[in-house]
């Protein structure tokens, strides 16, 4: 039992210290005639610590900071740099952008003209078809990356194809997947999107073995968990890539990892991705722009620079719960990529904390 003098402190555990009052109750088991720290009206009425916390949250809170796109410092503000910047804009929009669109179109033509025949003609020879489709997907992703002049540095051993392993990475934008897919064909688990992205998802990504989920469906989680387990067991399936944050975060912080990926009973290989904002901010602020606009923004900037680290595979330690495991892996990824950890659930972006959380506080 902590000392009742603690009631006056500015700790936020004010309510958890309340059990002290039970000592003080006349009907309580232990009737203390003179309790060590007398509970006075003053202590009862002093709600300042809780109020300070609330005001602190109103003024600035760590959750909103995770999703803020920080605009880069403007450097084109003086008379010499401004014309240079204008020239750069013209160059980017009139020369570089059309070239990139051309490159991308060529890439798509090659891809589709090889993918569609292979998909239908080699129906019987699954193994061969799969390996060709895999190389084709890797190729189109390289084309995508080239179309934004992606400068990606890969560190660490390349992922190998083994059963019972899962890859987890921090999530900044949909292009995370493309950057990683360029090196190795992963099977990924994603939110089903509308529009042309959804079309891509259902046709091409299906061939690499992707799994869909829908955030808004409640029963979805069990179905998805089952699909995940089935996938990992299969030796022939592509290694599975999961983004346990569940949502795009602005590459300065990591939010809490969902434990789903860590309960599958396989080794978890962490991958850390850090984008360099020198030319463009790769964070896709899904509240502010659609994916198409985001892609266009990437294609009209000079380059997308990022580092990818493939880190040491981790397994569940004896006596560790999946949640602790998830936190440990999040720690590893955050340290490697230089991100700050934040104790919030990414899904709070879409919904409110339930009254349960408030009660607990």
């Amino acid at each position: 039992m902590n000392s009742s003098g603690v009631l006056k402190s500015s700790s936020s555990e004010l309510d958890l210290d309340r059990p002290n009052i039970e000592d003080y109750l006349p009907s309580g088991a232990a009737i203390q005639q003179e309790p060590r720290g007398k509970l006075r009206l003053h202590d009862l009425l002093d709600i300042s610590p809780t109020l300070s916390e609330a005001a602190g949250a109103i003024v600035d809170d760590s959750f909103t900071r995770c999703f803020k796109s920080n605009p880069p410092e403007p450097w084109n503000w003086n008379i010499y740099l401004f014309p240079l910047w204008c020239f750069g804009v013209l160059l980017r929009y009139l020369i570089v952008f059309p070239t990139r669109v051309l490159v991308l179109t060529i890439g798509w033509i090659i891809f589709l003209s090889s993918f569609i025949p292979v998909h239908f003609l080699l129906k019987g020879h699954d193994r061969l078809r799969r390996s060709i489709e895999r190389s084709l997907v890797e190729m189109i992703c390289s084309f995508f990356v080239a179309s934004w002049t992606g400068v990606v540095r890969y560190h660490g051993p390349r992922p190998s194809r083994r059963p019972k392993q899962v890859f987890v990475a921090n999530h900044t934008s949909m292009i995370d997947f493309i950057v990683l897919e360029q090196m190795t064909a992963f099977a990924v688990i994603m939110q089903k999107h509308p529009g042309w992205v959804g079309l891509l998802q259902s046709t091409i990504l299906e061939s690499v073995g992707c799994i869909w989920f829908n955030r808004s469906e409640a029963k979805d989680r069990e179905i998805v968990a089952r699909k995940l387990r089935e996938h990992v067991q299969g030796a022939d399936n592509n290694p599975l890539l999961i983004f346990p944050e569940g949502t795009c975060v602005n590459n300065h912080y990591t939010v809490m990892f969902k434990k789903g990926a860590f309960e599958l009973g396989c080794t978890v290989c962490p991958v850390a991705i850090k984008y360099n904002k020198i030319f463009v901010d790769a964070f896709w602020n899904s509240r502010k722009q659609s994916f198409t606009k985001h892609l266009l923004q990437l294609m009209t900037s000079w380059a997308v620079v990022c580092d990818v680290w493939y880190l040491e595979p981790q397994s569940l330690k004896p006596g560790e719960t999946p949640i602790e495991f998830a936190e440990r892996v999040r720690d590893i990824i955050s340290t490697r990529a230089g991100l700050k950890k934040v104790p919030w659930d990414g899904y709070l972006k879409y919904s409110r904390p339930s009254p349960k959380h408030r009660e607990r506080k």
Partner: protein, 175 residues
């Protein structure tokens, strides 16, 4: 940064400063204005209470409901006036007035037994039964010289909380 500070002129800042009795520096007012614009997503000039609930740190605070009651439909001046109680430059009296307002749920200038019980309930939740809460509150009130039926007014609060150093501050990030 960019265009938000250009919407707030020097006159506006000074007016707001006057309104909150110089509790905040001009830099802090600019930062708070950015925060206000961030919360006022639909640009309607005031913050609906929903917005505060979408801040997880605020929503899990035990006193969020009482504070929401006070915070509804705030425009920027009222927002600053509300937060001015949390500035290190505000007086102890101002802070005590704020606490009084949190307790005074029906805004009639008097805090009743039930008002205090409500706040106590928010803070303790399921850790104490209703009966225990009433007991404790009654006991503590008696010791301080009040009864269950007495109403506390602002001067009572000043007397009770006045001679302590109340720590009620929130730091405004200034970039």
């Amino acid at each position: 940064m960019g265009n938000t500070s250009s919407m707030l002129t020097q006159y506006d800042i000074e007016e707001v400063q006057q309104h909150c009795k110089h509790a905040f520096t001009q830099q802090e007012i600019v930062s708070l204005y950015q925060r206000f614009c961030q919360l006022d997503r639909n640009n309607c000039g005031f913050i609906p209470s929903d917005e505060f609930l979408s801040i997880p740190e605020f929503a899990v605070n035990p006193l969020s409901q009482s504070l929401l009651r006070m915070l509804d439909g705030f425009n920027f001046k009222e927002f600053i006036a509300f937060l001015s109680a949390f500035s290190p430059r505000s007086t102890l009296q101002h802070k005590i007035e704020f606490i009084f307002k949190v307790y005074d749920t029906d805004c009639n200038g008097k805090v009743s037994f039930d008002d205090m019980l409500t706040v106590l309930r928010d803070l303790t939740g399921q850790y104490m039964s209703e009966h225990q809460r009433k007991e404790v509150l009654a006991q503590v009130l008696e010791e301080a010289g009040y009864t269950k039926d007495s109403f506390l007014v602002l001067s009572d609060f000043m007397k009770i909380l006045g001679n302590s150093d109340l720590k009620m501050e929130a730091e405004v990030p200034v970039d």
